[in-house]
């Protein structure tokens, strides 16, 4: 197996309010036309608000739409998007050399409405992904990356590594989220929705515009599939955590700067050689402020800076993917685009926000995203370099393990806490298990049950271990996985929508409707700033964690990795985490 492959962008598709194909989207962007409009949808936004919504009457006219029956709306769009992207390249989706990687925050979340904890199967993110992958007779089980607003960029990063390391030749990266009452009410509870179309980096910015969209990016190691005269390569990628707050962006921008520096280092591209930066640019006060600081830390403050939110709004799990595809198109067209909504600079660092659409020589373009849970991600697209060699798979040693289930905490095979007296009473059990080894921690009681479970498992895992002394904060990675995502807390947020008498949606609940928040809590608690990835899968797969950690070590992305399974739904739970290190690494 060749494990030093180049990762080429070979085909893509975008379905959004801006257009229903990549071609039409780019036409609108070049004409500086926004997909944001005032909508008064009775359910999503009863009082009326600005949003970026897909025109379903136009979608219905798309080729093949009528033939896709028996699928949920988001799945239909994903199928259409993949079909369209595959029509531009000769890749066999059913080959064992092709992997589907999904990126979504909430999937078919509308299906949990009025259901309580009696969930339909399709509400599970993995099932949604499997339905779409099965439509294409996929040979391999799909991966689902659900990591808040960085999901799209992170899914590309995961795809890049799986190809680069020789595991697969082709990756079909599919991202999507639809605008639902669930999401809109949550952002409103955070008071982060702007009453005007969003204005990234502008002095008068006052919040984001929520949007929806679906996109597909096909990556391949096969250069013959590339139709461009000058191929675009994914040359570097990284992720990080602020270890600061679960919803508020970092006050320094250091986490995002770490991810940027690391992606550039992998690509072998200096800050000086970056031609354009496309950031998250949501137009909330603190996100944009943080990004300007991160750019300064990474010596990129003078580079042309783009936010595409003025066109698409914030399309959540799809945003990183849609915007990366637009960056790839920018390189193909050798053009910069105007940051719609921006007029007068309103961030603390003097950054160079794009004010017009014009030709620009582009060789290296950096795309970043940041999200709830304090996570950041970056990818470097390049026409001049494929990035550093992969080398060989690092050998792994397991330095410690912790399992929490059946009211017991087991570390390295020894029962360290037996809470049999709490059978059937998870809240009391987990509270006692945590208190048993930890000094009082005010944040614990505020967490949702999934976060309490993950935090407690890692508390035991790191107890008496010198891992935090031996490795730098940014060299310790977190890679967690589960089946139920954040559905236990999703149900609680949904209850406040199903029964409006019970009071308004709570931001303290909504913030936990993302599975990666547990990693944010762990990073804050232990001051860890390394790679972060939350994967949704159908069952625990220990080999997968070891393999992914090995790739992280081989690429120099981490020196230690906390990885495993953390799942909670309706009182049923299991955590099984291990601390992995590279074998032979000097202790």
């Amino acid at each position: 197996m060749e494990n030093n492959r180049v990762v080429y962008a070979v085909a893509d598709n975008i379905i959004s309010s801006v257009g229903l194909t990549t071609e039409s989207v780019l036409k609108s962007i070049q004409n500086e036309e926004s997909g944001i409009s005032f909508v008064s949808d009775g359910k999503v936004c009863p009082q009326g608000c600005y949003a970026s919504m897909i025109d379903w009457s136009e979608v219905a006219k798309l080729d093949g739409f009528q033939n896709i029956e028996g699928y949920n709306p988001l799945e239909k769009l994903m199928i259409l998007s993949v079909k369209e992207a595959l029509s531009h390249c000769d890749i066999d989706p059913s080959s064992s050399d092709t992997i589907f990687i999904f990126s979504t925050t909430k999937g078919n979340v509308d299906l949990i409405e009025g259901r309580g904890t009696d969930l339909p199967d399709d509400a599970l993110l993995y099932n949604m992904a499997a339905r779409v992958a099965n439509f294409f007779d996929a040979a391999m089980k799909p991966f689902v990356i659900s990591n808040a607003c960085i999901s799209g960029v992170l899914a590309i990063s995961v795809a890049q590594r799986l190809i680069k390391s020789g595991k697969y030749c082709n990756a079909i990266v599919v991202g999507g989220d639809l605008l639902t009452e669930f999401i809109m009410s949550g952002f409103q509870s955070f008071k982060s929705v702007s009453p005007q179309p969003c204005r990234p980096y502008d002095k008068s910015r006052d919040g984001l515009t929520v949007g929806e969209g679906v996109a597909t990016l096909v990556l391949s190691c096969d250069k013959q599939l590339v139709k461009d005269d000058v191929p675009v390569m994914v040359a570097g990628s990284s992720s990080s955590n602020d270890a600061n707050h679960i919803s508020g962006p970092s006050r320094t921008g250091d986490g995002l700067a770490f991810a940027i520096e690391d992606a550039l280092a992998e690509a072998g591209v200096s800050a000086e050689e970056v031609d354009l930066v496309d950031m998250h640019g949501t137009a909330t006060l603190y996100n944009d402020e943080m990004e300007s600081k991160a750019l300064a830390l990474a010596n990129l403050a003078e580079k042309p800076l783009l936010s595409l939110k003025g066109y698409f709004g914030h399309t959540m799990g799809a945003s990183g993917l849609i915007e990366t595809i637009v960056c790839i198109e920018a390189i193909r067209r050798q053009m910069q685009f105007r940051t719609l909504g921006f007029e007068e600079l309103g961030v603390p660092v003097e950054v160079n926000v794009t004010k017009e659409t014009k030709p620009l020589e582009l060789r290296n373009v950096l795309k970043t995203a940041s999200g709830f849970g304090g996570c950041n991600a970056a990818v470097l697209l390049s026409t001049v370099t494929a990035g550093m060699d992969f080398g060989r798979f690092a050998e792994i040693s397991v330095s410690k393990s912790c399992v929490i289930e059946d009211e017991k905490v087991v570390v390295d095979g020894n029962v360290l806490f037996d809470g049999s007296e709490f059978a059937g009473d998870y809240p009391s059990f987990i509270r006692k298990a945590f208190k048993e080894i930890s000094a009082p921690y005010m944040k614990f009681a505020k967490m949702d049950d999934l976060s309490k479970l993950g935090l407690t498992a890692v508390e035991y895992l790191l107890q008496d271990d010198r891992v935090k002394e031996r490795f730098a904060a940014r060299d310790i990675a977190l890679l967690l996985s589960n089946k139920y995502s954040s559905l236990d807390t999703d149900v609680k947020h949904q209850l406040s929508l199903d029964n409006k008498e019970a009071g308004q949606p709570s931001p303290a609940v909504f913030v936990y409707t993302l599975p990666n928040i547990v990693m944010g809590e762990i990073c804050i608690r232990h001051k860890l700033q390394g790679e972060n990835t939350f994967l949704i899968f159908d069952k625990e797969d220990k080999n997968l964690f070891v393999e992914w950690s090995s790739v992280l070590f081989s690429l120099g992305k981490a020196k230690a990795c906390i990885t495993g399974w953390v799942d909670f739904f309706d009182g049923k739970y299991r955590a099984s985490v291990v601390l992995l290190e590279e074998k032979g690494f000097d202790k």
Binding site: K191, H245, S247, G248, P440, M442, A445, Q504, P507, A508
Partner: protein, 85 residues
């Protein structure tokens, strides 16, 4: 006023999930946010906005304008007394 202050403290404990904190533990004049005192954060601030609406029928649209009002239990109580209908 004394009653209002005690009610407020109990409501803060309940709504913000302040485990192991009692009404007696909360200093009426001490800062609610930041590293000292209760160490509340931006999510707690949003929850306090909901609390004021739920228990006192008071609406604060812009969380930033709440900064002075949310300084301590005392400033919160003063605001409620001045604005409650």
């Amino acid at each position: 006023m004394e009653n209002l202050i005690n009610d407020l403290k109990a409501q803060l404990i309940e709504e913000l999930n302040l485990e192991d904190v009692t009404v007696e533990d909360i200093d009426t004049e001490a800062p609610l946010f930041g590293d000292e005192g209760l160490g509340l954060d931006s999510i707690d601030a949003l929850e306090i906005i909901l609390l004021l609406e739920k228990y006192y029928g008071l609406k604060i649209e812009n969380p930033k304008s709440g900064k002075d009002i949310f300084f301590s239990v005392k400033t919160l109580a003063d605001y409620i007394t001045a604005n409650r209908k």
